[in-house]
């Protein structure tokens, strides 16, 4: 069946996955260094410290979900995995950062490294680049249609798996969708978050691993 093979998540204080314990980090390490200190990323992501916090969380959630689903990745590996992402308000915040910086610079020079994050798909493109994921990649506004799209991409064999990532300014949660013997949760459960990463994470924590599995 096509179902959810693993889930990883991170918020402002903790991170976890379906098959691991919740780990607190906020009082011991900054977000940007978490990948190294806690070994969340298998190898260093180029310019990771310069990523926006949202992009950093999206990368961590993807790493936790891939590990949860038992999918290995590596610097020289390329995987046929798609990345579909949703976060409320899209790139509004990074758009404002870019344009304000441009105006403050006298309306003549702008910074390319800010401009590339003005696309709502950019955080998910960073996931694709870092983890070597070569499947379809896009941003949508609502989780339900993206879950439906992920199913379709796997069904048509356009991707072996698809990461469906839901994020907001504080949290990110990532589900690995693919062909599985036993899905760890139902589709309706996954889509029911209504695009709200916080609701998704609370549900994961409230329901408990046994109930989900």
């Amino acid at each position: 069946v096509i179902g959810v093979a693993g889930i990883g998540w991170i918020d402002e204080r903790c991170y976890g996955s379906l098959r691991s314990d919740v780990v607190g980090y906020a009082d011991r390490v900054p977000l940007a260094r978490l990948g190294k200190t806690d070994g969340l990323l298998a190898y260093t992501a180029k310019n990771f410290g310069r990523f926006e916090p949202l992009t950093q969380r999206v990368c961590y959630a993807a790493a936790l979900a891939l590990k949860d689903a038992g999918i290995e990745y590596g610097e020289s590996l390329r995987l046929n995995i798609g990345v579909l992402g949703v976060h409320p308000r899209g790139a509004v915040k990074s758009n404002a950062s870019y344009f304000k910086d441009y105006i403050d610079s006298g309306r003549t020079l702008s910074r390319a490294n800010l401009f590339i994050y003005t696309l709502p798909s950019s955080p998910y493109a960073e996931v694709s680049v870092h983890f070597g994921l070569q499947g379809p990649l896009l941003y949508g506004a609502h989780l339900g249609p993206l879950v439906e799209l992920a199913q379709g991409l796997v069904k048509r064999q356009e991707a072996d798996q698809v990461l469906v990532i839901c994020a907001d300014e504080q949290r990110a949660v990532c589900a690995v969708v693919g062909v599985v013997e036993h899905a760890v949760c139902e589709w309706a459960w996954l889509a029911d978050g209504q695009g709200n990463a916080g609701v998704m994470i609370e549900k994961i924590l409230d329901v408990g691993k046994e109930d989900i599995a």
Partner: protein
């Protein structure tokens, strides 16, 4: 991305469309301009371009920064929207949408502009077209190609029988300054596939494509203008702004679209290429095509004529490719002077008659995304 299951139960056909481009309102002026080899690129006067690497852009006359309505909503509102079924599932394709609302807010001293969020634009477009359901598809410059491919797949698999793809992006100071900062603008205007090319020109456009299952189209008396019989997407997983140098990512997307269509590369009669005019994109695209095709096919890019309309470009290119199939003519690449070595023998500098039944349309974008569609003339084969 090797192969894939072919799950075709229905056929997805284009039944209605419209567009606005720097050539004017509708498909006809755009077709006439491109066929004549006339470029609509001009010096942009919407904002001060003196600090940028180029002043060239593809601008639609009559749009105004001063109106309350955003530039993209001015464009979308101008489209002929009669007869759109209320049960059509909307897929809105854009990259920056109403970003001019954000420009105004920042210039007025505000720190953010939630009114510029793409979700707000989605609701406005739903209201404008009178449709009940819809979703946003944003994936850099493949946005509308992705939306068309996904929409057609939904119809082929029987999950929807009517999908409305609307695409729009505007030339704003925001995007113009950004592309300039990336050193991506050709100081002399875009010259796709030319030996002297030096970058792209930003353009603006909006359009829609109403897709239906052939069964519903026949039942309701719609005339099929085109069939979208395959789509493919991929990511290079290589670099945020630069394409893969070997073209393997785009080649994978093309192979996927051919497989979905159930045809071999030999079935493709001509190619509507992405052809931005940047050195790396056009080179990557030719490498990808040479990986897939056993020999040259007539090829063109629209971007020397109307600029790069970002999220809208794929949809505009499909509407023009449909016209090529209908008229039996493959268009020239406007502003091509001398083809570079890689594209020589492929890219056209003058219109060419072609008894074509199938075409390929390709796009690529930031984040290393690639997309491809296989298009068939109505009645063109099983």
């Amino acid at each position: 991305m090797e192969g894939g299951a072919v799950l075709r139960f229905m056929r997805a056909v284009l039944t209605a469309s419209d567009m606005i481009s720097p050539y004017g309102q509708g498909i006809q002026p755009c077709w006439d301009g491109l066929l004549a080899g006339r470029s609509a690129l001009c010096a942009v006067s919407r904002f001060d371009t003196s600090a940028f690497h180029s002043c060239w852009g593809g601008i639609i006359d009559g749009l105004s920064y001063l109106q309350e309505e955003s530039l993209v909503m001015q464009m979308v509102a101008s489209l002929n929207r009669t007869s759109i079924p209320a049960d059509a599932y909307l897929m809105l394709a854009t990259t920056t949408g109403e970003v001019d609302l954000l420009e105004k807010a920042i210039l007025a001293g505000r720190s953010e502009a939630p009114e510029s969020a793409l979700e707000g634009l989605l609701q406005k477009v739903k209201d404008l077209f009178g449709v009940r359901e819809g979703e946003l598809v944003s994936s850099a410059c493949i946005s509308s190609t992705a939306a068309l491919g996904i929409g057609a797949a939904m119809i082929r698999e029987g999950r929807r029988d009517c999908v409305l793809v609307v695409a729009c992006d505007a030339v704003t100071e925001f995007v113009f300054s950004g592309f300039s900062s990336l050193m991506a603008l050709d100081p002399h205007g875009a010259r796709p596939f030319d030996a002297e090319r030096a970058g792209l020109s930003v353009g603006e456009a909006a359009g829609y494509a109403l897709l239906m299952s052939r069964e519903r189209a026949e039942r309701e008396g719609w005339r099929a203008e085109l069939e979208i019989c395959g789509g493919g997407m991929s990511a290079d997983a290589n670099h945020m702004t630069g394409p893969s140098r070997d073209g393997s990512g785009l080649a994978a997307a093309i192979e996927c679209s051919l497989h979905q269509a159930g045809v071999d590369q030999q079935a493709i009669d001509f190619i509507s290429a992405h052809g931005t005019g940047t050195i790396y994109n056009d080179s990557m695209e030719m490498k990808a095509l040479k990986r897939v095709f056993d020999g040259p096919r007539p090829l063109f890019s629209l971007k020397g004529g109307m600029g790069h309309s970002m999220g809208a470009t794929g949809l505009i290119e499909v509407l023009i490719a449909a016209r090529c199939l209908r008229e039996g003519v493959v268009l020239p690449s406007v502003r091509l002077n001398r083809a570079d070595e890689e594209s020589s023998g492929w890219v056209l500098s003058a219109p060419q008659a072609c008894d074509a039944t199938m075409a390929l349309s390709t796009n690529a974008g930031f984040g290393g995304v690639n997309a491809s569609l296989v298009l068939r003339a109505p009645g063109g084969g099983a």
